[in-house]
């Protein structure tokens, strides 16, 4: 057992030999934040009384959903064999949507703790991140968490982990973030096993940005890992991808509150503040250098965040449009991956087409907009980006079905992903059936252990962005897990299905689908709308069409009675309140031509039945 460090190494004057940079790779609910909290406590950087459960997850939504969206880095002092060390714990986002951010966090470390729930075993995303860490040559410390749980099966999962990364099951550490059991031993092992960072202290400064966060009071806070040289306060720095230069107003480390330092040297991890207000000026993966003495080459691995999924966001109340616009502007300051442009829908009015990294990113963004800006929003069915080549060789990028060209089309390409699914063996049949129905092509299957498999599929992204994960969860009774990464594109036989009410096309219901699925979509959507749209004073035909060819039709019969024929006696007030309520109900309707369509229809029509009682991600 090590005592708490008596002295903490001073930032900007720390020998790289006593620095250890590590991250924790774990699935959403495998206890990463609890373990991190325990480390903060054991190393004494957070006093017991200040302990807020899951200290590192700052945002409410993160805390509620128990997931980490934005990473943070904390410097922890830890003494081993009489030497004080500086441990930098870099928290990584825990979701597939944020793979790029994860890769940059990993690139800032020499080692990773592979944290797995001793009752559940490894999950697909963890496995994907583990592979990513191994590709980055990180030293892996396998750890089983929650060993205090009655359902824990440490032997079984230790064998699984040993099998995955090589080594002896006995080397797998067993901890409980909840009780603190084994956490000190883990800290010791980090110091002992992880290599110290290596860099050239005399070279021009190079630091990699692995996260940047917008703070209302301080502007953008940029988290960096210094590779070569040194950064000092008050000097001018330059972002190597954009060539933008800023004055370094403040530099420091988080422990875990921001603490200014005299600089950051080789191997150190900390934050920079330059006063800029937009995270786009501090891009994850970019290299920071000294303007006066710039580095020749930037650090490898920089890539622009690329939106994969697009959805229209519309205020329920049209007068909220300016509020939504301002809210998106604000959110954009803090989310470099968010892109948007104004969009108009005949059915939904004025809104924005917004690009996201994935479905979770969409859900979180929508929730933040609603919660932090008091908005009620409709989000249209998520879409991927298609590349349509017309016969005249003109190419069109389509992120919204309504932009789908009407002219002669030579070819349509759709984005593909390679997906990894982990699940108990008993569900292999169900998973294959699901993937097959989503136009997947199987890439392979491996047994992780006797009763767990890893199944690999190549699938069109469009087939998984909507409800795939929910259905996977329900068909595997919650045990299946999914990871995917972008994997090129393919030519596909796609068509646009339009939905018409009374002969009038409703853009919000149009979809781009595979030709084989167009009929099913048409039948499903027309049937659903028939249920969701209240009867009108006239008959309303609902049709699904590909171009001018009708593929499905339904009809809503005209309403015959809309009168409260009851004696309310002299209580005219009540009668008037009922009228006002009716009128209020009508206000929540969108007029599509002469047809009144309730907002709920837009929302409900875009959810599938199977995913309705979904396990929330």
């Amino acid at each position: 057992m090590s005592p708490k460090a008596r002295t903490s190494p001073v930032p900007a004057a720390t020998d790289p030999a006593i620095i250890r940079n590590f991250c924790i790779i774990a699935h959403i609910d495998h206890g990463k934040s609890t373990l991190a909290d325990r480390m903060l406590q054991l190393t004494g950087v957070v006093e017991q009384r200040d302990m807020k459960a899951q200290y590192l997850d700052r945002m409410d939504i993160e805390r509620e959903r128990g997931i980490t969206i934005k990473s943070q880095a904390v410097r922890l002092p830890w003494e081993l064999d009489g030497v004080s060390h500086a441990l930098n714990m870099i928290d990584t986002p825990g979701h597939v949507d944020f793979t790029y951010e994860v890769s940059r966090s990993l690139a800032a470390c020499e080692g990773a703790i592979l944290l797995v729930d001793a009752a559940q075993g490894i999950e697909a995303q963890t496995l994907a991140n583990l592979y990513l860490a191994m590709e980055n040559n990180l030293t892996i410390i396998p750890v089983l968490n929650k060993i205090d749980l009655p359902a824990a099966q440490p032997e079984k999962y230790a064998a699984e982990l040993a099998n995955l990364i090589g080594g002896d099951p006995d080397d797998v550490l067993r901890v409980s973030g909840k009780t603190g059991m084994g956490v000190e031993a883990l800290l010791d092992k980090i110091v002992r096993d992880l290599p110290p960072p290596v860099g050239d202290p005399n070279a021009p400064a190079r630091a990699m940005i692995f996260d940047s966060v917008y703070d209302t009071y301080r502007g953008v806070v940029t988290y960096v890992r210094v590779v070569d040289g040194m950064l000092h306060p008050r000097e001018r720095i330059q972002m190597m991808s954009t060539r933008a230069s800023h004055e370094l107003l403040e530099i420091g480390v988080s422990s875990p509150e921001p603490t200014p330092s005299k600089g950051l040297g080789v191997g150190e991890v900390g934050y920079l503040i330059t006063g800029v207000k937009d995270v786009r000026l501090s891009k994850v993966g970019d290299t920071v250098t000294n303007l006066a003495k710039p580095a020749q080459a930037s650090l490898p691995g920089y890539a622009d965040a690329k939106p994969m999924v697009f959805s229209g966001l519309y205020p329920l109340d049209g007068t909220d449009y300016p509020v939504l616009r301002d809210a998106l502007e604000k959110l954009m300051l803090n989310d470099a991956a968010l892109v948007y442009e104004p969009e108009t829908s005949a059915a939904l009015g004025f809104g924005f087409r917004v690009g996201f990294l994935g479905l979770l990113h969409l859900e979180i963004t929508r929730e933040r907009l609603e919660r932090e800006h008091n908005l009620n929003l409709i989000s249209t069915a998520p879409n991927v980006e298609y590349l349509v080549t017309l016969e005249d060789k003109k190419m069109v990028h389509v992120t919204n079905p309504s932009e789908y060209p009407t002219g002669k089309i030579a070819e349509v390409r759709e984005p593909m992903v390679s997906a990894t699914i982990l699940a108990p063996t008993e569900f292999v049949g169900a998973i294959m059936e699901l993937c097959q129905s989503r136009r997947g092509v199987m890439g392979g299957m491996d047994y992780l252990s006797e009763d767990r498999v890893e199944i690999r599929y190549r699938l069109p992204l469009a087939e998984i962005v909507f409800d795939f994960f929910d259905i996977l969860k329900s068909r595997t009774r919650g045990y299946g897990s999914l990871d995917w990464k972008s994997d090129g594109d393919q030519v596909a036989d796609l068509v646009k299905v339009d939905i018409m009410l009374q002969g009038e096309q409703v853009d919000a219901f149009s979809a781009i689908t595979h030709r084989d699925k167009a009929y099913a979509y048409g039948v499903m959507m027309t049937g659903k709308l028939r249920e969701l749209i209240p009867r009108q004073q006239f008959e309303v035909p609902i049709q699904a069409a590909i171009g001018s060819r009708i593929i499905a039709r339904e009809s809503i019969r005209a309403i015959r009675k809309d009168v409260l024929a009851k004696c309310y006696g002299g209580d005219i007030t009540r009668k008037r309140k009922l009228l006002e309520k009716q009128k209020e109900g009508k206000k929540r309707m969108k007029m599509v031509g002469r047809v009144e369509v309730p907002q709920e229809a837009f929302i409900a029509a875009l959810t599938t039945d199977e995913s309705k009682d979904k396990v929330k991600k």
């Binding site: 009675k561 009168v563 024929a565 004696c567 002299g570 007030t573 009668k575 008037r576």
Partner: protein, 409 residues
């Protein structure tokens, strides 16, 4: 009286009315509604303010009720005078419930006498009581006629036993023609209340009810579509799947059956749910509600209206009796209608009448809707061109939609 009371402004203990109530009162008719909050059985569909206990405490028992409600009439007379309204005789009086005839006829007579003592009856005044077919006798009806009642409205609801059972109505269908006959012999006009669209009622059942009701030769018929109100026993039974839910299309068909049968029997509609043999047989008391006249509503939960001031009494009979016993007005709350609200109510209520709504009262938005309503065959074109909004047969079934279109903002 319906379920929940509205939220409004507080009403003063004295019951004194704001100035507005008196303005122009000399030109308006005055009516009186007396609520009798007792029933022998609570019907499964009913959300009105009524109680089955005979012994409610605090002066609210059935045998002391006539005295209690008379105390409100005494207070009313004082309030009307003190508030500066013009002295007026009563044009209409209506005893509703509940089941007014659950009280002895002599008690109803006492209450009416108190009212006449304060205000007097205008020549040709209409004085109605609601009644259950099984809570009247030739003698009790004679007592009522003697006391000045001119009209009785029987809650017949249906002629079909299985329908009555779903409604929890206890009377035997064969009792109705007898009750009608006795009322006629006592010299009273007769109205029958019917309900259509009860779960399990077939079109043939409803036709049978119409045929039966009309064969008794009523002067007036009200036919209301059953509405499932939250919190009623029937709502719970439907939720549990014990009886089928009601259906708007079924209601529409039955309304058409009703209109056809009434017309064949010589009764004409004068409000969406009301038919009368001649204009003289129309229920003038209800018309007063719809035309925005003045009336005082006495009894627990009763609603009143005077010159754009609406108020309502406390709901529970015990609380009601306690207030009156200490000389405090039983009014629980009130609202003072602004011009816009009065306009809304005017359109909402008068559009449902055969006499119609004059197009000249419509605001520009409403006037713009008229052409569309004609095109959709919801209002009668010729009458609209002549300056009145009158519903067509189709429009009567879609009256709420018509009203919403006339009130676009």
């Amino acid at each position: 009286m319906p379920g929940a009371l509205p939220l409004g402004l507080p009403a003063p203990e004295s019951g004194l009315l704001p100035e507005q109530a008196a303005i122009g009162s000399a030109d308006r008719k005055l009516g009186l509604y007396v609520h009798i909050p007792f029933c022998a059985v609570r019907c499964g569909y009913c959300d009105f303010n009524t109680y089955t206990a005979t012994e409610l405490g605090g002066g609210a028992s059935q045998d002391r009720y006539a005295a209690t409600v008379s105390a409100e009439l005494d207070l009313a007379a004082g309030v009307l005078t003190a508030s500066g309204t013009a002295p007026r005789q009563l044009s209409t009086v209506f005893f509703g419930g509940g089941t007014p005839t659950l009280l002895p006829a002599a008690d109803l007579a006492t209450v009416l006498r108190t009212a006449v003592g304060h205000w007097g009856l205008a020549p040709g005044a209409e004085v109605t009581t609601e009644a259950n077919p099984d809570s009247v006798t030739p003698e009790s009806l004679a007592v009522l006629a003697q006391a000045g009642f001119t009209r009785v409205s029987f809650g017949m609801q249906s002629a079909v036993p299985h329908v009555l059972k779903v409604l929890d109505r206890t009377h035997a269908p064969e009792r109705v023609p007898l009750a009608v006959q006795w009322a006629r012999e006592a010299g009273l006009r007769v109205s029958l209340d019917l309900i259509y669209g009860t779960p399990g009622e077939s079109a043939a059942d409803w036709q049978q009810t119409l045929d039966a009701a009309l064969s008794y030769g009523p002067d007036h018929v009200s036919a209301y579509a059953l509405i499932i109100e939250d919190g009623t026993k029937l709502a719970a039974r439907i939720r549990r799947g014990e009886v089928p839910d009601i259906d708007d299309d079924d209601h529409a068909e039955k309304y058409a059956l009703a209109e056809r049968a009434m017309a064949a029997a010589g009764l004409g509609w004068y409000e969406v749910s009301n038919w009368a043999r001649t204009p003289a047989d129309e229920c003038r008391h209800n018309l007063a509600y719809w035309r925005g006249d003045d009336w005082w509503g006495a009894g627990p939960g009763a609603h009143s209206h005077l010159g754009g001031v609406r108020w309502w009494n406390v709901k529970h009979p015990t609380a009601y009796a306690q207030r009156l016993s200490t000389g405090v007005s039983p009014a629980a709350g009130r609202e003072i209608l602004d011009a816009e609200t009065r306009y809304t109510e005017d359109v909402m209520l008068r559009a449902r009448l055969r006499e119609g709504l004059p197009t000249r009262v419509l605001h520009p938005g409403g006037r713009l809707a008229v052409a569309g309503l004609i095109a959709d065959e919801l209002i009668v074109a010729a009458e609209a061109f002549a300056g009145t909004i009158t519903l067509t047969g189709k429009g009567r079934l879609l009256a709420d939609a018509v009203v919403r279109r006339l009130l676009p903002d």
